[in-house]
Amino acid sequence: MSYLRVVALIFTKDFKEELRRKENVLSALLFAFLSLVLFAFALDPTRVDLNQTGSGLLWLIVLFAGSLFMGASFRKEMENGTLQALLLTPTDRSAIFLGKFLVNLVFLLFLEALLLFFAFLLLNFRPGPALGPLALSWIAVTVGYAALGTLFSALIANVHGGQVIYPILLFPVLIPLFIAAATLTQDALAGTLTLGSQWLRLVALFDTLFVTASLFLFEYAVEE
């Protein structure tokens, strides 16, 4: 079986599984929506403007809800006893990583789109012409987030109490990406985001570095 075929098969398998099981998808989406509602109460939406300084808060929701979803990426394989079978796939292990990474990436982008929509509806979030730059920067940031999220999910799959450690382990590493995400969102909304932005370059570096590192390290993360 060719490498890409394995990636595609794992992607399809996981994608279908998530849609049929529903619990991971729904809990993450509901959690994100709930957080948005809670923000409205915490912040007084008439005074905090999501179009300006509050925009970083949206990323906080993506971070928390996303980790809820991605943390289960490998844990569910452990619970079902299917991790061993998955690891027996006769190809390079990184194909498994790529398949899972793509599922997480697609889901996160979906969650972000929904989040922005509800922010528009409930919290007077008005990106307007900034939507293009906003989408570009959010996609760029999500790639790095999904890569490390998937790798760390594999790391803690076997660890007793892994759910608890997962965000504690993941978030400190994501801090530079998070700073970039918050700043990029603000710049995009202010209309000052250009392709030459230093923050975009930082995100590109982060993405390249950690997608590559994850492809290499994944082998060690799952090996028995």
């Binding site: 803690i156 450690i165 801090i175 530079p176 700073i179 700043t183 982060f206 390290l217 060690y220 028995e224």
Partner: protein, 220 residues
């Protein structure tokens, strides 16, 4: 020379050097005009930071060696250097605000070097938490090694991001009077000797624990 002899030698060195360093800090180095006596914390703050970074770099190297060679000794070395490095990083984060209070007038400023140290501290807290949670698991060492490697690659990016994000910076160039410079040099060597002694002792404790767990014979 066996490890025990080395250990005694290192501790002897560390005690003598630190006694000399402390004497110089309090009685030889002049009091800084603007910051006053609090500036003297610098003689232990900066060497602690250097030791922490050297040790955490070693933890990164030993983690790679462990993944490559699968020798448990490398895992113990990675754990040992990470642990002692973490202690020194904590010292940096405690002494930083004390000094910052007199230098900047605030306990904490979101300054690149101090904030990077804090984030590194958070990463390594998670690292030890992970080792604590997975201690009964065979893959524990490998999982920890992967985290240490990722953390290492992240540090320069963290630093760059915070530099762009924040505004306050450490003084780029510190001008020191010759007596200050001499004191600084001695305290640097003293703190490194202490770090080395602590690391070696921790390593020997780890080895002893290993022997105890595997029921092996006790070294002479």
């Amino acid at each position: 020379m066996d490890l025990r002899a080395w250990n005694r030698l290192l501790w002897g060195l560390a005690v003598v050097l630190n006694a000399v360093a402390l004497y110089m800090v309090f009685f030889y180095a002049p009091v800084e005009i603007q910051m006053g006596a609090v500036q003297k914390i610098f003689y232990y703050h900066v060497p602690s930071a250097s030791s922490a970074y050297v040790l955490l770099f070693l933890a990164f190297v030993f983690s790679i060696l462990y993944l490559w060679r699968e020798d448990p000794t490398y895992d113990l070395l990675a754990y040992t250097t990470a642990e002692v490095g973490f202690v020194f990083l904590t010292i940096v984060l405690v002494t930083g605000p004390v000094w910052g209070r007199s230098a900047w007038g605030k306990w904490w400023v979101w300054e690149p070097r101090l904030t990077s140290a804090l984030i590194l501290w958070l990463m390594y807290s998670a690292y030890f938490l992970l080792r604590l949670f997975s201690r009964h698991e065979a893959r524990s060492a490998r999982v920890a090694a992967v985290v240490a490697i990722i953390a290492f690659f992240d540090v320069p990016i963290v630093h760059k991001a915070i530099e762009w994000w924040g505004s306050v910076v450490h003084p780029k160039k510190v001008v020191l009077e010759p007596p200050m410079l001499r004191t600084f040099f001695v305290s640097m060597v003293a703190v490194f000797a202490l770090a080395a002694a602590l690391t070696l002792t921790r390593y020997m404790v780890g080895k002893a624990e290993e022997r105890h767990l595997t029921g092996g014979e006790v070294a002479p």
